[in-house]
Symmetry: none
Subunit: 124 residues, 4 copies
DNA sequence: GTGGTCTAGACCACC
DNA sequence: GTGGTCTAGACCACC
């Protein structure tokens, strides 16, 4: 599981970490029960501050993607333990991206094919 | 074309304005050639600073969604005049939202049906 | 609205700030729409770091007690805008405290009278 | 007397153990004079470190809820042997929870009814 | 060893 | 002026 950060991005680093871990879980590169790297270790790997990684982990925890077991650190939650709530922000964000693709000239079919492809990346 | 702002949101106001105009264009509620309201007028309507609307319009111009004409103000660009480039951020954002939906428990089919529905909203 | 911190307490400072603001809102000492002090100002007043106050404000925001308007800072949310959800932790915490009182020798009636008194402090 | 731990909780394990024993005593599921399980046995049952259980028992002893007898292990103290002091933390915690309930939209009467119900659970 | 908290101070985006 | 982000580094509670 490799994380790539863009330090020039407007997206805060802790958000980028959070986003890539979410994509990693959905894509099966991070399995339920699997341990995430220790905050300190990941921070050193990425060349960022411990607090930044910590904030990402706390976000993931609040959202229910991971659980912090005091004994074993932070780990991916089993699917069925995750609360099946679709945040409004997710729906709004999806609509926005689809609109942007449409305005970039992609046809309805091209867009749907892209979505299918992305869904299939998410093998688990 | 009505814009609704959420002042409690983490998304900056100028971004919200930009996003809703993009969705408005894709959905056909704003037609190519149509004039956007004057900066000052929209700012007053929304109860925000003129600078905020100005920043949103500037973004839309940079992205090629609208064109500024000194005489006629800001107007929606014709489709074929828009550069068919898909920003990396759009693709990344789409993937993120699809992953979030997947982790919220939606099946591949439910997600694709949602995408189709959203694409069909974008009549023009 | 005066906050008193106990630096020797096991309760984290940001929690203490959060708790006292919650009690302040319920007690009517902080009214809906009222602005909380700026993070920097409160931090200086309390002699703590800006981040500590910031974390308390973010918690309050997540819980729906306050809203951060980019124009006017952080303010108490109107009652009816607050989501009527009772966190499990609140119920569990209440039961624990009632048990502790019982074991401290207070009778059922004394405890209930105390609860009534506390509820009546919360004028609004 | 069954203890259920939540390893994902922010409440430390030893606190959870302590809290549930306090609730157990108040609720009459643990009677005065009754022996608590041996540290090692309980630790094994719960799947936690011996030190964790030990710390919980030590807390309970300091607070006067249980007494440690070298021969008979740790046992629940008789009611009248317990010091009738209400810790400041208990009062503060009670007020906090009542305020949270109030802000969650419960009426004064609903809250008091909930308190009564909880007090009546505590049969002994 | 693990995450959680806190400081002092800087920089930045938004308004 | 406002909150949000980030660093470097320290200390601590929990396990």
């Amino acid at each position: 599981m490799l994380l790539t950060l863009d330090f020039d991005s407007e997206v805060p680093i802790y958000q980028q970490i959070r986003n890539q871990i979410v994509v990693g879980i959905a894509g099966g590169r991070l399995s339920p029960g699997e341990r995430l790297p220790a905050t300190r270790a990941l921070a050193e790997d990425l060349g960022v501050n411990t607090m930044t990684v910590s904030k990402a982990y706390q976000l993931l925890r609040q959202e229910g993607y991971v659980a912090a077991d005091r004994r074993a650190g932070v780990m991916v939650r089993p699917r069925d333990a995750q609360v099946p709530v679709v945040p409004e922000e997710t729906v709004r964000g999806l609509r926005l991206r689809l609109c942007e693709l449409r305005l970039a000239g992609l046809s309805r079919e091209e867009i749907l094919r892209l979505c299918e492809k992305m869904c299939d990346e998410e093998v688990d």
